[in-house]
Assembly symmetry: C2
Homo-oligomer: 263 residues x 2
Amino acid sequence: MPAANLPLLASHSAAYTTGPVAGAEAPSFSPLYRQIKALLLRDLQAGLWGPGGSIPSEMELATRFRVSQGTVRKAIDELATDNLLVRRQGKGTFVATHAEERVQFRFLRLMPDQGAAGGAQRRFIDCRRLRAPADVARVLQLKAAEPAIQVRRVLSFNDAPVVLDDIWLPGAQFKGLTAERLRGYGGPMYALFEAEFGIRMIRAEEKIRAVAADEAQAGWLEVAVGVPLLSVERLSLSYGDRPVELRRGLYNTRLHHYRNELS
Amino acid sequence: MPAANLPLLASHSAAYTTGPVAGAEAPSFSPLYRQIKALLLRDLQAGLWGPGGSIPSEMELATRFRVSQGTVRKAIDELATDNLLVRRQGKGTFVATHAEERVQFRFLRLMPDQGAAGGAQRRFIDCRRLRAPADVARVLQLKAAEPAIQVRRVLSFNDAPVVLDDIWLPGAQFKGLTAERLRGYGGPMYALFEAEFGIRMIRAEEKIRAVAADEAQAGWLEVAVGVPLLSVERLSLSYGDRPVELRRGLYNTRLHHYRNELS
DNA sequence: TAGTGGTCTAGACCACATC
DNA sequence: ATGTGGTCTAGACCACTAA
């Protein structure tokens, strides 16, 4: 049961908090399309339509919310800009998914210095359930005794190891994740998380540094100890900025680079 | 004389290239608002309104182009999304500028690990006019004998050097740029370029790697030789993707990190 | 009070996909 | 032929700014 014919705001002009109200006065005014966006977001977060599923047509939503098509349209426009929905002319509007080619380039920024970006070979080192170190627990907002899952893997290009990933996940939300399931899945990890655990990454923050390879790292990446590596610490967030993954990657940038676009 | 009452396309429906045309069929269809966007872009590029200046009101543009306000609005919306225009309710629409606080954070991604981002102290090492190395000339698309300008500088935070920049500019477009003018200018470099040379950076591509400090670099950044540094190679582009700056930065990431947001 | 951008509507028509 | 998203219009009214 979706968020149908709810009151929204009794009359449209009631949406306007005319003048400063005593106390809270943060967004002094919330246009209709933003309220509708929030309603859609709620249903989206609740998994009402599933990854890749289609949401109701603009006309149907307009009828349901008792607004014009243009207003619904503007709400959907923003959700599409936020990469939560994907519009397809003639077909409908769909819940965005990490299985699409397009999305993968958004999250995998490593590019070969020469040639096109080819697919990586994944090799999982281990997948363990354990108590997270304090810093990881804090960032992932783990409850006191909540276990974490640690996944370690190596990504190779042309049989040369380039990325060493150390991934931490909140155990409560990834019950039953094993190295076998990771190995058995062909596509990107985020697509698996989405399909198997109903958890969708919608944005991430990365902190990048240059570090020297220690002995263990050097071994996995087949470089000498002390070689400069790119350290990429990524915190992935789901709906409502809920943290769901901490990923610490070490990139060998001898033949690759991290590509970023400023605009 | 702006791009006034031009034909656009004789009738509106003429905008629709109905059916595949023999030969070129790239964007088989160009909506009105995109054509208007292109016209505004042309005037913007020509410097018709100057950095920070205000463009005509939506109503005036609608009259001029003989379309409805909504259509002009959509064109401006996209230009605002592209960070070329800034809308200010009640005041007008303005040409975006690098002097704004907001914009600076888009291009300066270095953040202290702890505390808020403070202002940097700039120290210019030199500013020379010389023949660019082949790789620089190629990337900047310099004409055969066109000279380049090399600017080197150090950015410090709390009196500790953190960034060593090696900046290359096409000499033909930056006549009269000297170390003195750079030193004498308080704000960000891009704001100076905009105000003094009429050159506006609108986007940039960065390639990031981890490298070891050589002797000279170590000296400027006050670190030991061999310390891992973040190498950030930025190519800045102006209108029409014309390259106008190649910046090679080395960041000491002991107390700072490069922050990136994936969304 | 006037002018600007911001929201919302109702309706028309086009492009695209599917049946 | 139908239904979907995409474009465009004309007009109304609201919020914000500045004179």
